[in-house]
């Protein structure tokens, strides 16, 4: 069971490393979007620090959105998605492996790049720490939610914009709780409660989302 | 009756614009929804009707071919 999981993950990673632009482009996009804000708003460090959590999180949402296309699209086109569904393992388990690999390729780079952006937006260390924690817990939820959207729209010709229409409203709680936690950290309050809420959402989505993804894939591939 | 006269009723104690704006938009939206739903039904029935008459014409044409 776990062997299959690892096999799927390693296959995904190998495929992605062969085409590195797929990993790098969303990260680039993330950096550019965040850079646009100081250019548009001004360079007042207090103002930037104030808006930083929201800006970084919204940019992370958009970058995640960009990267979702490739989660199932290529596999759908070359038919390996159908092969995946024919495997003698539960589809929900296999797709969780795919989503996990996707998070490694898109969520993790954002985590690594986030210190740079924190410096850009003159965030303080303890605020940045909160940002890091919310990204760590929040981006996997984004990947899982987004995977549902991709699975629903992968069979459609113009699925891209539809995917964002479906997914963005559903990801609002993550945005709200994360930015609230970072704000709390900025004011020196405890944000453990909010992190726990995010954690609860992560656990819920880990347990439920794979089944929704599997069911959606069955709709799209038929 | 909460109002003395018709002009009082329309003025709504100074809030006339907001009250009538919301009631107007509400009924506009509801009416558009109803009209759209009914129009959709007529369109579906019309499509079926066209298909049936086409099928009939094809049948007729085939019968004609047989007699020639």
């Amino acid at each position: 069971m776990f062997k299959v999981f690892l096999q799927v993950v390693s296959k995904e990673l190998k495929g992605a490393f062969r085409r590195q632009s797929d990993i790098l482009n969303p990260v680039w996009f993330f950096i550019i979007v965040v850079t646009l804000f100081p250019l548009g708003i001004g360079t007042d460090p207090i103002l930037l620090a104030r808006i930083a959590p929201g800006v970084i999180w919204v940019a992370a949402l958009l970058a995640a959105l960009l990267s979702f296309e490739r989660l199932f699209k290529d596999d759908f086109i070359d038919g390996s998605l159908e092969q995946l569904m024919l495997m003698p393992h539960p589809l929900a388990w296999l797709v969780s492996a795919k989503v996990f690999a996707h998070w490694l390729l898109t969520g993790l780079p954002i985590l690594f790049i986030s210190p740079l952006l924190a410096i850009f937006l003159s965030m303080e260390t303890n605020t940045y720490f909160a940002l890091f924690l919310t990204l760590l817990i929040g981006t996997p939820i984004l990947s899982l939610l987004g995977a549902i959207g991709v699975a629903l729209t992968v069979g459609l010709r113009k699925g891209g914009i539809l995917l964002s229409l479906i997914m963005l409203p559903l990801s609002i709680p993550i945005l709200i709780f994360s930015t609230l936690a970072i704000d709390a950290a900025a004011y020196g309050q405890s944000y453990l409660g909010l992190l726990a809420l995010l954690g609860a959402m992560l656990v819920t989505s880990i347990t439920l989302a794979p089944f929704a993804i599997a069911a959606s894939l069955r709709v799209s591939v038929s | 009756m909460a109002f003395e006269s018709i002009s009082d009723f329309i003025a709504m104690g100074g809030y006339g614009f907001y009250v009538w704006l919301s009631y107007g938009l509400t009924f506009l939206a509801l009416i558009i929804l109803v009209v759209n739903s009914i129009a959709k039904k007529n369109k579906i029935l019309k499509n079926v009707e066209q298909r049936l008459s086409r099928e009939q014409r094809i049948k007729k044409a085939q019968n004609m071919e047989g007699t020639l």
Binding site: P169, L170, L208 | Y18, L25, T26, V48
Partner: protein, 250 residues
């Protein structure tokens, strides 16, 4: 009970049943709307704080309530559709979603028009308005997804999955928005305190709630019949229906 219900799994029977129910819903809608509006607009006394602007409540609150009720109905239908693979339940979702979206839109517009005299601004990021806005986004997403599939069977199944995902998410969205709102509360925000409404104000509201529910029922039935017709348009019973109608016109 199952024996009694069973025939209605057949689209034709459901179509006829919906046709029989429709006039009753329409009658209830018309009566409650007329009574509720005349009572609410003409006879209910003005609020001592908000004056006559409070009369917007007679459409704002029913629309908001029924927008939620419509989503709950869709979620139940989605559950039935996915668990028991009942096509008619999927059609139900497609039939109700536009009505729910319109109700949400009405709740938003009337909320804004009420907010302008009360708050001094058309739009305030009030918890209730914000979650209604997000509900509207969710509705539009479901409708867009349903329309994107050309195969309506797949469309129905995809829409049911999205509806269920949404129903798990909506309470979380609601509470997160309430929380966000209490923490970001600006100086201008004034709550619509639930006034202990006098009965002569409350009765028209109740009647309007029933009216909006009946409207929801009528238009959903109408659209439900449309969905059945569209999907079954190649079946003999639909052809018979059309030819009957044509010969009736002649």
């Amino acid at each position: 009970m199952w024996k009694w219900l069973h025939p209605y799994a057949k689209p034709e029977k459901s179509y006829q049943l919906a046709g029989k129910l429709l006039p009753w819903f329409v009658v209830v809608t018309v009566i409650t709307f007329v009574v509720g509006l005349v009572w609410g607009l003409l006879f209910a006394p003005a609020d001592y704080q908000q004056g006559d602007s409070f009369r917007i409540i007679y459409i704002h609150v029913p629309a908001a309530m029924m927008a939620m009720a419509a989503y709950s109905t869709m979620a139940i239908a989605a559950f039935i559709a996915l668990v028991w693979q009942i096509r008619l339940a999927e059609m139900n979702i497609a039939a109700i979603a536009p009505v729910g979206a319109v109700f949400t839109f009405i709740a938003l517009v009337t909320g804004a028009a009420w907010g302008k005299p009360m708050w001094g601004a058309w739009w305030v990021w009030d918890a209730r308005l914000t979650s209604e806005l997000i509900l509207l986004f969710v509705y539009l997403g479901i409708i867009a997804l349903y329309n994107a599939f050309s195969d309506k069977v797949l469309a129905g199944r995809a829409a049911s999955i999205l509806t269920l995902v949404g129903v798990i998410n909506l309470p979380v969205i609601h509470y997160s928005v309430v929380w966000w709102n209490t923490l970001h509360q600006g100086a201008t925000i004034m709550k619509f305190d639930k006034p202990s409404m006098a009965p002569e104000m409350l009765w028209p509201l109740m009647i309007m709630i029933v009216g909006f529910a009946a409207f929801l029922g009528s238009v959903s039935l109408l659209r439900f019949r449309n969905e059945i017709l569209a999907r079954e348009s190649h079946r003999p019973w639909v052809s018979a229906l059309v030819t009957d109608k044509l010969s009736g016109e002649k």
